[in-house]
């Protein structure tokens, strides 16, 4: 909607400068009757100005006349006339939307006026320039031109000119969507123009102000202003065709106020007047607007003929600014009337215009890119030249270097010859020294061997201490695991003692049936005690197995069971140490995995280490996070692929920082506080997985998660 108002507005605005040209030309035409040659030229210029204002008639003839007036003005050496001739050319090009030519002729006019004091002409030049920039949508340049004109008018205290500049400012601000400022400038213009007898200018200010107010949705005020414009024009007896566009604006305001009947009445007035005066742009604008109002009322039957006629006229006139949206309106109306074929046709026309617009834009962008590419290329050539120069310089330096070296060698050779004799003597002395040195080296070699042994021992000790550390982690978990069977053992024992007392009572009573029942229960209880005792025994055996010296022999192992055991042990181990620790555990085991040929103690140690790290990570995050929504979670999954098995252990802790991710598998690297970790866990895990021909991989995202993957190859089907 905003778009539409703007464009219609745009159609009307070109006429104003023609008005100026006309007035000035008339003035000069009268004045120069006495001068012989100049009179003819002036008359010519004046007629051209008139024709330009009317915008119709024989365009080529006008064009010829303009060049004629330039030629003649040069002949009579009249700068004022020459400048005016250039301005006429500028205006002609402006009307023909060849704006670069407009700017070219304005430049010529400006040069002509340079050393003169024809201030009004100078100001006018700026104003035509403003129009050209406005049509090119270069609003900041247009503003600049307007302010230059304003300055000239202020210097010569031309109130009418000042007011006109304000009106134009108002218009420019409208296009830049600064409606409040725009309305203020128009108000200033109105106040000046009320004092002067300039009804057309005053009405224009009212209308522009109304336009700005309409955009500010101040409908009542807008209505008031446009009505003032119409009253001013009517009272001054100005021709109806000049009032027509005001009716159109009033129609727009009514349309926004949803007073559709009033709006149509205004547009009809505009249409009538424009038709009578053959002002086609007024006619199709009115038609398009009437069509639009009917469409807003969902009266598609009525809307369509108006829209179609408007389209035809726009096509004929060559002014296609509003054509696109009217194609769309036509298509919508046809669609609403179920005439899909026509709807499609107009939709295509609409789309084509959009694509044409886009292509134009693409072409422009491409040409900009081309320009940039070429300037880049130029830079490259310069760089290449620089490189060649520096290479040549390097070669020169090299030659100099070689020459210096040669000199040095010759000099050195002389001394060498001289020294050789001396050296022979020294050599024998040296040999004896060498023999002594060798002895010393042998000694230190022995020392080194000894410290190597020592180091190896230390390493073994360290590995053992890592094992013990993980054993420590296990112990608490194992304690918890043992607690459950122990509870059963204790409970069933206690209850059995009670039952034996009961049995005695029943025996005394002689109730054999009851005695039998109780003894059956007792047997069951003792079986339970045995069962849970064995369960505890298994757990302890498992613990011993973990700390046992590694035999390094692979055996078929239930990998899911192993993983789950250590998962529980690690969790309960931590829980037992820190009762407030809590985490969500998730398991997803691939049941198709049966047994895998591995060294169970070793793989178990890796899994335990990874779980311990995972729990440490989530606990650490929990302790530093301020969010109450954080839920620590550790998950494990196993997956069997064609030739490998993957065990994935994932935590939702803070992840591993990028700067240390490369170091985590190095021995003695730890992020835990001193004394809390040996820094050997991951390094040992890495070695163990390597020894299984597998891979240990890590994936992490800062503040989100860490996932370790143990990838074990399965060589043949026997493994699984």
């Amino acid at each position: 909607m905003i778009f539409k108002i703007k464009h219609i507005r745009h159609l009307f605005q070109n006429k104003q400068n023609s008005f100026w040209v006309c007035l000035l030309s008339l003035f000069f035409a009268f004045q120069s009757f006495s001068q012989n040659n100049s009179t003819d030229v002036e008359a010519l210029i004046e007629s051209v100005s008139q024709q330009l204002q009317n915008s119709v008639t024989d365009s080529t003839q006008v064009y010829k006349n303009m060049f004629k007036s330039v030629r003649l003005s040069k002949q009579v050496k009249d700068k004022k006339l020459l400048a005016k001739s250039y301005q006429n050319l500028a205006i002609w090009h402006q009307n023909n939307v060849t704006l670069d030519s407009t700017l070219y002729y304005l430049e010529k006019a400006q040069t002509t006026l340079k050393a003169t004091d024809f201030n009004k002409l100078k100001a006018k030049n700026h104003l035509i320039k403003e129009d050209a920039h406005k049509d090119k949508r270069e609003y900041s340049k247009a503003l600049e031109a307007d302010f230059k004109a304003l300055k000239i008018y202020e210097n010569i205290n031309d109130q009418k000119g000042i007011a006109e500049c304000y009106t134009r400012l108002c218009d420019l601000l409208y296009y830049q969507e600064k409606y409040t400022n725009g309305a203020e400038y128009c108000q200033q213009a109105i106040e000046i123009q009320k004092q002067l007898n300039v009804p057309k200018n005053l009405a224009l200010s009212y209308r522009y102000k109304a336009d700005n107010l309409l955009m500010l949705q101040e409908y009542e005020q807008a209505l008031e202003n446009i009505s003032s414009a119409i009253t001013v024009l009517e009272n001054a007896g100005i021709s109806k065709v000049s009032i027509a566009k005001n009716y159109n604006t009033r129609g727009n305001i009514y349309k926004h106020m949803n007073r559709f009947d009033d709006a149509i009445a205004e547009y009809q007035k505009c249409y009538q007047i424009a038709t009578e005066h053959n002002a086609y742009n007024g006619v199709y604008v009115a038609l398009a607007n009437i069509g639009h109002v009917y469409r807003l009322q969902n009266n598609y039957d009525k809307a369509l003929p108006y829209t179609l006629e408007a389209i035809e006229m726009m096509k004929k006139s060559g002014n296609i600014q509003n054509l696109r949206e009217n194609y769309m309106h036509a298509s919508d109306s046809y669609e609403a009337l179920d005439q899909y074929k026509e709807a499609l046709e107009y939709e295509r026309l609409h789309s084509k215009m959009i694509s044409d617009d886009s292509q134009e834009m693409i072409a422009q962008l491409e040409s900009e890119l081309q320009a940039k590419y070429e300037s880049d290329k130029k830079d490259e050539t310069i760089e290449a030249q620089d490189a060649t120069i520096s290479r040549q310089r390097q070669i020169q330096l090299l030659y100099i270097g070689i020459a210096v070296l040669l000199g040095f060698f010759l000099f050195a050779m002389y001394f060498t010859m001289k020294n050789i004799r001396k050296k022979r003597e020294a050599l024998t002395k040296l040999n004896t020294e060498l023999a002594e040195n060798q002895k010393t080296i042998e000694l230190s070699n022995r020392k080194l061997k000894a410290s190597l042994e020592e180091l190896k021992a230390t390493q073994a000790q360290l590995i053992q201490s890592e094992k013990m550390a993980s054993l420590g982690e296990l112990t608490a978990g194992i304690a918890h695991e043992i607690q459950n069977p122990l509870n059963f053992v204790n409970n069933f024992s206690e209850v059995s003692v009670e039952m034996i007392d009961e049995m005695k009572v029943e025996l005394d009573k002689g109730d054999i049936e009851e005695v039998r029942a109780v003894s059956n229960d007792l047997k069951q209880n003792i079986e339970k005690i045995l069962h849970h005792g064995k369960r505890a025994d298994d757990i302890v055996k498992g613990m011993l197995q973990h700390s046992r010296i590694n035999t390094g022999t692979k055996e078929p192992t239930d990998l899911n069971k192993l993983t789950d055991e250590y998962f529980r042990l690690a969790y309960h181990g931590l829980r037992a140490k820190d009762k407030s620790f809590n985490a969500l555990l998730e398991t997803d085991y691939d049941e198709s995995i049966k047994t895998v040929n591995i060294v169970p103690q070793d793989i178990g140690r890796v899994i335990l280490n990874l779980f311990t790290n995972a729990f440490y990570a989530v606990d650490d995050k929990k302790s530093i996070t301020t969010s109450t929504y954080y839920k620590p979670k550790v998950s494990v999954s196993t997956e069997k692929l064609e030739d490998k098995i993957i065990i994935a252990i994932k935590d939702n802790g803070n992840g591993i920082p990028e700067e240390i991710i490369d170091k985590i598998f190095q021995p003695f690297f730890t992020t835990k506080p001193t004394g809390k970790g040996t820094g050997l866990g991951l390094s040992m895990s890495y070695d163990i997985i390597k020894a299984h021909n597998g891979e240990l991989k890590v994936e992490t995202e800062n503040l989100k998660y860490t996932q370790f993957k143990i990838i074990l190859p399965i060589k043949n089907t026997k493994d699984v």
């Binding site: 607690q483 409970n491 039952m499 069951q524 339970k528 009762k579 407030s580």
Partner: protein, 124 residues
């Protein structure tokens, strides 16, 4: 009133039946057993509108005791069952969570059966 015991250790059933054999025989207590949170919910659904006392372990594979508690307190309101939670860890967080979710009582393992009996009798 029925007492529903929820624990993943199957032998808990045997133990309860033995420990409370006198009360069961005298029909003072009436036990039912479920071996997971999911199973407990199934049982509860099948006996709608019957008064129940639930005794649930917290650490269970699958649905945890706390999750079960939350669902019970939300979905089974007529009549609201009494829920007692049992866990090996008498830690503050579990205790607070259980209380917050509306647990009526909280016991730690190993269970003191004398105390439990008193509590059960009191509630019935």
């Amino acid at each position: 009133m029925k007492i529903l015991v929820v624990d993943d250790e199957q032998d808990v059933k045997t133990l309860f039946l033995q420990r409370f054999r006198k009360e069961i025989r005298k029909e003072e207590l009436d036990f039912m057993f479920a071996f997971s949170g999911e199973e407990a919910l199934e049982t509860l659904k099948s006996m709608e509108h019957e008064a129940v006392l639930i005794l649930s372990d917290i650490n269970m594979p699958g649905m945890s005791g706390l999750q079960l508690l939350e669902i019970i307190k939300k979905d089974f309101v007529t009549p609201p069952p009494i829920v007692m939670m049992v866990t090996a860890y008498g830690d503050d967080e579990n205790y607070n969570t259980a209380k917050q979710l509306g647990a009526d009582d909280f016991l730690t393992k190993p269970v003191d059966f004398k105390l439990l009996k008193d509590k059960l009798m009191q509630n019935l």
